[in-house]
Amino acid sequence: MGKKLLLEHVDVPGINTLSVYRQKGGYRALEKALRTMTPEAIVEEVKVSGLRGRGGAGFPTGMKWSFLAKPEGVPRYVVCNADESEPGTFKDRYLMEKIPHLLIEGMIVSSFALGAKTSFIYIRGEYFYVARILEAAIAEAYEAGLLGKNILNSGFDHDCYVQIGAGAYICGEETALLESLEGKRGNPRIKPPFPAVAGLYSCPTVVNNVETIAAVVPIVNDGGAAYAAVGIGKSTGTKLISASGHIKKPGVYEIELGVPVEEFIYSDEYCGGILGDRKLKAVVAGGSSVPILPADLILKTAAGEPRLMSYESLADGGFASGTMLGSGGFIVMDETSSIVKNLYTFTRFYHHESCGQCSPCREGTGWMEKILHRILDGDGTMKDIDLLWDIQSKIEGKTICPLGDAAAWPVASAIRHFRAEFEEYVRKGHSIKDVKHYYTTQGLPEPAYS
């Protein structure tokens, strides 16, 4: 069994309540931080831990924290990104729903380290009931003197608020999140300035993912070095993986970074193998935005090394033969699945979620969706495949925020690795509608594409 740093007590009954959470050692990190550590020492431990942002980009958290501007007389804010809207990603929900106090404790400790008297948890609208769970936990924490004025007699004051979004993927992009939090339209900001200098209400702000903030708790408890001892190379610690798709045991798994992909898919400790013992076809390893890889490349790198669940190993080979760990949304597709259909679903999503500020993403995402729809309908041409390739290349890297890239990469990788399948759609023409995919082989009604 791999080491669990976040979910160790997830199955303990009542762990969502303050009393049980404390029985299991909860709020020890807060006591330790407030009573025995300086803010600088905490930032140092986070740096030593090698923790990297769990929201998708994998930016070193300690470094992000040390960039935070500290002008005199200006408030600083800590904002937790709980917008979790990347298709295939559902780990933050699990953590907040099961152990809300772990996030609250992480928020208070992080805020103490960064000198923030106020923090916000921005949670997606669809997680309404989770927001209620968090609010109940926050109320308990206030009651116990863990939030509010003079926390644990340390002289540190802190208030934490939950803000519910209105259900837009783009509000997970950190600057769009800040706009939305300020009550404005959730458009990503043009950077610079970065939030570390001018974030919420133009004040220095740190935005971190739920899992990142929760990981601060074990780092403070056991020290950065102990955290760094888990994992592999620059991928330190544990990572929550949301496993879904054609696997026997979908769910959220906490893994030590460095577990071989093959073990993750096939061992009983994790996904338990492919549904119906069918053949693996492809995996989207880090949420819908990252490049899809065919079975051979997800199990082994182009050089023939076993592929590991780590930032470096998954990225090995660049986009030609690799992918990214991203947010850890691990979507498994077996031999019955259609790459083209799946890509259409993703592309439709990005088209729907584009904020529309910049022309390549606003116009290009819709165009790609229309072409894919045409190919799926059996009306595509070989030229459409090249056109799709060209459109994605004209979006990638030319937009304000990375949503443009996130829309381009799935298209590029699907064509790169599965071009033959697109060509088959074109060749089969209208008879493609008779081809059996997962739904039809399982006797389920096909979803309507509109």
Binding site: A168, I170, R185, I190, H351, H352, E353, S354, C355, G356, Q357, C358, S359, P360, R362, E363, G364, T365, G366, W367, K370, L387, K394, G397, K398, T399, I400
Partner: protein
């Protein structure tokens, strides 16, 4: 003062200058096209992506190239920065891509659009785009909206440059219009068709790079290239009173602000000057305006009209339902088009 090199030309500029401003200081071909940036509007720019350039060297201190093309209007110059615009095939390709994106949902109804002749999207298309369209689907359409009795909004032509929103934000109190919805159905709207009623609302017409916001008092009166611009002023207690009058014969057809060679107004003007003073006697005439090459109303801007016509024909043919707008014999004769409407 930082030194920056753009397309092999080096210039020294004040701290905080953007690449686009530096390029404008050099002038000529080095200047990237800008559809959303507007020097008089704070926080403008960054949206349209037409001004993207390649930064080959970040600065003297950190000579690494920037990995992606950057929006020159929102990127500050660093000492020793080396930038490529016209001299980079990659930039030209990427820009052609942006132009294509801006045009795929554009109605291409220039023959019946009041902005034709002074439209930045037309200029952009001709100068930086490709002749053919690869887009074969229905184009986005919106209903026309009257914003009060003087301004009309035709969203179908809008490129979402956000300039009008910033004008309303920065020039007038209590902005009542903005962007609603998102992605490719985002639209400029007064939501419940509230009219924009204030002394400076008319400026949204001048900042609009396309024919999305037009002056209803001028609609379909004439093609702009048949009118004669004359600079004039008056004593106005609300604005500078410095305007441009557009004459056809003896008649003032419209009043606008004076624009510089980048199409930006020199001074904002009030609605009174714009909409209500349409007599020569309202004004002190200064003389004919100098018209920049950046407009088809300057002589011989597109000297080969045949090529122009062929291009428009081809674009029209590419329209999905075979709906041709104002085409046929003498299609480019503005009177004809006018009559057709």
């Amino acid at each position: 003062m930082p030194k920056v090199t753009i397309d092999d030309i080096t210039i020294e500029v004040p701290e905080g200058t953007t690449i686009l401003q530096a390029a404008r200081m050099i002038g000529g071909d080095v200047v990237p096209p800008a559809m959303c940036y507007y020097s008089k509007l704070k926080t403008s720019g960054g949206y349209c992506r037409t001004c993207i350039v390649k930064v080959e060297q970040g600065s003297a201190k950190d000579p690494r190239p920037m990995p992606k093309p950057v929006a020159s209007c929102r990127t500050t110059v660093m000492d020793g920065m080396v930038v490529r615009n016209k001299t980079s095939q990659e930039v030209l390709e990427a820009r052609a891509g942006v132009v294509e994106f801006l045009l795929i949902n554009h109605p291409l109804d220039c023959p019946i659009c009041d902005q034709a002749g002074e439209c930045h999207l037309q200029d952009l298309g001709y100068e930086h785009g490709k002749v053919e369209t690869r887009y074969e689907f229905d184009r986005r359409e919106f209903e026309k909206i009257d914003i009060g009795d003087k301004i009309q909004l035709h969203m179908t032509r809008c490129i979402l440059c956000y300039r009008c929103v910033k004008v309303a934000d920065q020039l007038t109190d209590g902005r009542v219009h903005g962007v609603i919805n998102r992605g490719d159905v985002a639209e400029i709207s007064t939501y419940i068709q509230n009219s924009i009623e204030n002394d400076f609302s008319g400026n949204v017409i001048d900042v609009c790079p396309v024919g999305a916001l037009t002056d209803k008092t001028f609609r379909f009166k004439s093609r702009v290239w048949y009118t004669k611009p004359v600079d004039a002023h008056c004593n106005c207690d609300k604005c500078s009173g410095k305007v441009r009058l557009w004459y056809k014969g003896e008649e003032v057809l419209r009043v606008t602000a004076r624009k510089d060679k980048y199409g930006e107004v020199e001074d904002w003007i009030c609605n009174d000057c714009r909409f209500n003073k349409k007599k020569t006697s309202d004004w002190v005439i200064e003389g004919p305006s100098k018209v920049d090459r950046h407009s088809v109303i300057s002589a011989n801007h597109y000297d080969n009209l045949k090529v122009l016509k062929a291009t428009v024909d081809r674009q029209q043919l590419a329209l999905p339902h075979g709906e041709k707008v104002g085409l046929g014999k003498g299609a480019l004769d503005p009177n004809n088009i006018h009559g057709k409407h």
